[in-house]
């Protein structure tokens, strides 16, 4: 482990991951050592079972969905690059990064990508829409089928079934720090490992989502 692991990871690989994910050199070697200790099959990839062996993750009501996020195209193995790519969504945005707008590609830990990640936890069928059913399923997963929890507010958006489109979240990104629908209680915040000292702050503009068929105020 530790430095032993870093010797197996080539220097140019580290450079590439650094560029892609923004993690520092020492973070990458640390995470690689974690990766190898999770890799019980010792084949350089992680399977779903490898993740499920982490007890704290196994009891997480959303554990399966979080694990799924590491397998974006339905594979059953993820290598270190893929592992890091998913983790990169949770890298905090550092102060010196905020003002820099030099790269042409959007960093994985940008606000949009963070929201997109959160969105995909709901969007099981990956059609870029959260359907009413999908929403109910998350409710059920969190609350173990307690029906008092698993309802979707409002009953808006009849006909086609209430759907939160991804574009709502993109609007939110433009509108301000938090998305909030005061009709159906939809509320998006930020997810990140190592959050900044203060949470999402400032007064948030009220946004309604299109499931309630109301205009953005």
């Amino acid at each position: 482990m530790g430095s032993r692991a870093s010797t197996l990871l080539r220097e140019e690989e580290i450079e590439e991951i650094k560029k892609e994910t923004g993690f520092s050199h020492s973070q990458i070697t640390r995470l690689y050592s974690r990766f190898t200790s999770l890799d019980k099959g010792e084949n350089g990839t992680l399977s779903r079972e490898d993740f499920q062996r982490i007890p704290e993750l196994a009891i997480n009501p959303l554990g399966d969905r979080i694990i799924n996020a590491f397998f974006p195209d339905g594979e059953d193995q993820v290598n270190f690059r893929g592992f890091m790519r998913t983790l990169a969504h949770f890298r905090p945005v550092e102060d010196n990064e905020k003002n820099k707008n030099l790269s042409n590609t959007e960093p994985l830990n940008s606000r949009t990508n963070k929201l997109h990640f959160a969105f995909q936890l709901y969007d099981l069928d990956r059609d870029d829409k959260i359907s009413r059913d999908e929403l109910l399923q998350v409710g059920a997963a969190l609350a173990h089928g307690d029906t008092r929890v698993c309802y979707v507010g409002g009953g808006g958006g009849g006909g086609g079934g209430g759907r939160f489109g991804l574009n709502v979240q993109l609007q939110a990104q433009l509108a301000g720090p938090a998305l909030l629908c005061n009709v159906c209680s939809a509320d998006f915040g930020l997810v990140q490992i190592m959050p900044p000292s203060s949470g999402p702050s400032g007064s948030s503009p009220v946004v309604t989502c299109n499931c309630c068929e109301l205009a953005v105020t």
Binding site: N60, A178, Q192
Partner: protein, 444 residues
């Protein structure tokens, strides 16, 4: 040719005489000639010097090391209630209660990702991470080239450990074990007089002392006035089978365990002849009532030695104490908690049983620098009125964790092999739903 063999024989004889005079006889009567103390002082000085050298060479990497000891992520560690409240702060609704909110998933997602990066449980089942390299190549710090002098010291270390210490230690361990088998068997033939238990104790302690020397164990006992007394149960945290040798150096215990085959079986059968250990057949072990009954009978007999139990049921890597199985706390009687903490600088005492067999583990220990260990005897504890076995077990565990400077964990050490029960997930879900719905928080 004959001359050669005569020479070898002669060398062997000197070797044995030296062992007997310098190690065996002091071990028998429990005094020390100060050889191991000198070795320890020398070792501490060498390791300090090496640490200093390494630090100087890697001044730029200090940050990394600091990171290694503090972990990679910053955790909020708030309760579910507090953190969800935080997430919901911008909503014009009461922060807690109400209904399911989309942002609630963020709390669980963050927790999940945190546990993927670093979790409390699985890292307890692999070797402890060291902050600085200890000139051994078996921890998180592998061989590093720093300077010629350090490499020379490292090479010399290999020579001393493998060519001088290892043969000596192996000889000692063999003598110790043979002695234990012969000694206890012989004591078993004696009639059941009072002197028998006295001799039995002496033979046991002597053999364990020889074995401890075979591991170059330096053991510091604290608060000896709290040593387990007859008719009690001694519970300790478990790092490796060597724990038994460590504890028995300072007094005898009755062991509890399963009957093994092979070498262990021979030792077990010999030991039970001289003093009443409690060994179970594999099938008997499953019968909880029988186990409890036999242990209770043992405890109630005030003439019998205190029972030694490791309630974690598995070896943990010397950084934490995991869930205590409640069985040992249902027997009744006085509980004497003992905290054992090894010093990882001198060698990794943790037995990773899924990776190493018993013999290869012992060989690794015998080729380490030494075994330095602190043992704290805690004041005896009794089950309180209205306290059930689980609560009592947790109380004892916290006391041990606190005293030994170990992390107190609720998790079951059995997770090393088994998966988490589905019911734990349900508990988490219930916690969430009762928090969200509010009114049924009393139902669990």
């Amino acid at each position: 040719m004959e001359d050669f063999w005569a020479g070898v024989l002669w060398a062997l004889r000197i070797w044995l005489y030296l062992i007997v005079c310098l190690i065996m006889i002091p071990a028998m009567f429990g005094f020390s000639l100060g050889i191991s103390e000198t070795y320890m002082t020398f070792l501490v000085k060498t390791l300090e010097w090496a640490t200093l050298k390494i630090q100087k060479a890697h001044a730029d990497e200090q940050e990394l090391k600091a990171l290694a000891s503090n972990g990679l992520i910053k955790r909020e560690n708030g309760s579910m209630e507090k953190e969800l409240g935080e997430l919901r702060r911008s909503r014009p609704k009461p922060p807690v209660g109400g209904d399911f909110t989309l942002s609630d998933s963020f709390y669980f997602t963050r927790r999940g990702i945190e546990s993927i990066v670093e979790d409390e449980v699985t890292q307890r089942f692999s070797s402890e991470e060291l902050v600085s390299w200890n000139l051994l190549t078996r921890t998180n710090n592998d061989f590093q080239y720093i300077s010629l002098r350090l490499t020379l010291v490292y090479g010399l270390g290999i020579f001393v450990r493998y060519c001088i210490l290892a043969p000596l230690r192996i000889t000692l361990a063999c003598i110790g074990l043979t002695w234990l088998v012969i000694g206890t068997s012989a004591v078993g033939l004696l009639p059941d007089w009072r002197i028998k238990s006295w001799i039995s104790e002496w033979v046991h302690v002597m053999c364990y002392r020889i074995c401890a020397r075979g591991l170059s164990a330096t053991i510091h006992y604290h608060n000896r006035e709290n040593k387990p007394k007859k008719g009690g149960i001694c519970v300790a945290n478990h790092t490796s089978p060597i724990d038994i040798v460590i504890l028995c150096n300072d007094g005898c215990y009755a062991m509890v365990g399963q009957v093994h085959g092979g070498l262990m079986g021979v030792v077990q059968r010999a030991m039970v002849r001289s003093c009443p250990h409690v060994w179970f057949e594999r099938a008997e072990m499953k019968d909880r009532h029988l186990v409890t009954k036999r242990l209770r009978d043992h405890v109630n007999d005030k003439k019998k030695l205190p029972i030694l139990i490791f309630p974690e049921g598995t070896c943990i890597n010397n950084t934490s104490v995991m869930m205590f199985k409640k069985g040992s706390f249902e027997i009744g009687g006085t509980i004497y908690p003992v905290a054992i903490k090894y010093d990882p600088k001198f060698g990794d005492a943790f037995w990773n049983s899924s990776k190493y067999s018993m013999v290869s583990y012992l060989l690794r220990m015998m080729t380490s620098w030494a075994l330095v260990c602190n043992v704290w005897y805690l004041p005896p504890m009794h089950q309180k009125e209205g306290e059930d076995a689980v609560q009592f077990a947790n109380r004892v565990k916290s006391a041990i964790a606190h005293r030994g400077g170990l992390v107190d964990l609720q998790w079951d050490g059995g997770l090393k092999r088994a998966k988490v029960k589905e019911s734990f997930k349900e508990q988490e879900q219930k916690k969430y739903s009762s928090m969200v719905v509010g009114e049924d928080s009393h139902s669990d």
